[in-house]
Amino acid sequence: MNAAEPAPVIAPAVAPAPPQAEEPRDEHVPSNALFFEVLGTGLLYSINYQRMLDRIPLGLRAGVSFITYKVSNAQGSGNLLLATLPLLVTYYVGPPRHKLELGLGATLIYFSASSDATGTKFEGPGTGLGIAASGVIGYRYVPETRGVTFGAGFTPLLRSPKGFLPWGGASVGYAF
């Protein structure tokens, strides 16, 4: 072969695939969010943490709320106590910043009745530990990487023997 001749170019039978980036979960939803919700699945209020899953646009949310209140002014009377633990799986659809939030879950409810000055507790049908099925259909603003997130929606609850509660909630917090 003459040194002046160009070397033959051997084309590969199959072009190598370009380096493939790992498919993002949803590039528009930050992985974590911490937010305060008024009413909603925590009943009166709740403080929530949400973690987005890596590969699918599902979020796992857990919250907590605690209220204690002195019903009677009489000396020796005891406070009522209401604690809730809302747990939800949420799914987001829609444009990058403005999402439709859909969710299903359960809210654990613990209620301890107040007592009068003699120590008698006035317990209704919902006293003690209970569980309510819950759901969310609402709007949520989601920042691009980190920042303020807020939303509002319909958050119905269903519990025996109390029945169906057509409820709603609004939340604001920080996503990161």
Binding site: L44, V71, S72, A74, G126
Partner: protein, 164 residues
């Protein structure tokens, strides 16, 4: 002109606040009720401790958020007998359902009893300072209870008869 503008603003603010406060209370009560915070309580005015004046009725509060306060008021203000649940129904003649709106959306009923046996047992003049054992009215039939229910000096906001 400026004063009337201020008065109008303040009036509007007060109305808006009242509406908002009422709505917030209503929502909070609904949520608390779902959480299990409501209960029934009764105050039996027939049975009083020393110094109390007995009456021929028992008052019950149904699905109230303030059951413990109701019970403490029963003892503190009337020296009467408080308890959980509804009023006993034995020897009931009829009742009056109060039309009064309560903040916690509870229902309040007064049940009037045939107290002839208690009067026979204790005497007719065992009230405070030798007065009548039972404060009037002491109804003996349903029509007398109906008259008590219709008495606006007794039930300012009205009451409806509940048959036995």
């Amino acid at each position: 002109m400026r004063v009337s503008w201020w008065l109008a603003s303040i009036s509007l603010s007060l109305v808006a606040c009242a509406v908002a406060c009422s709505a917030i209370t209503s929502v909070a009560v609904t949520g608390a009720d779902f959480g299990g915070a409501t209960a029934d309580a009764h105050c039996d005015r027939r049975f009083v401790t020393d110094g109390g004046q007995a009456s021929a009725f028992c008052q019950e509060a149904i699905a109230t958020l303030a059951a413990s306060q109701f019970a403490d008021d029963c003892r503190g203000k009337h020296q009467a007998t408080a308890g959980t649940g509804l009023c006993p129904r034995a020897r009931v003649i009829a009742g009056c359902k109060l039309d009064k709106k309560t903040d916690d959306h509870s229902t309040v009923n007064d049940w009037y009893y045939d107290v002839s046996d208690l009067i026979a047992e204790a005497g007719a003049s065992r009230g405070v300072e030798g007065g009548a054992t039972f404060d009037p009215p002491v109804p003996t039939d349903v029509s007398a209870v109906a008259r008590a229910c219709a008495d606006r000096s007794r039930y300012e906001e009205g009451a409806e008869l509940i048959p036995p």
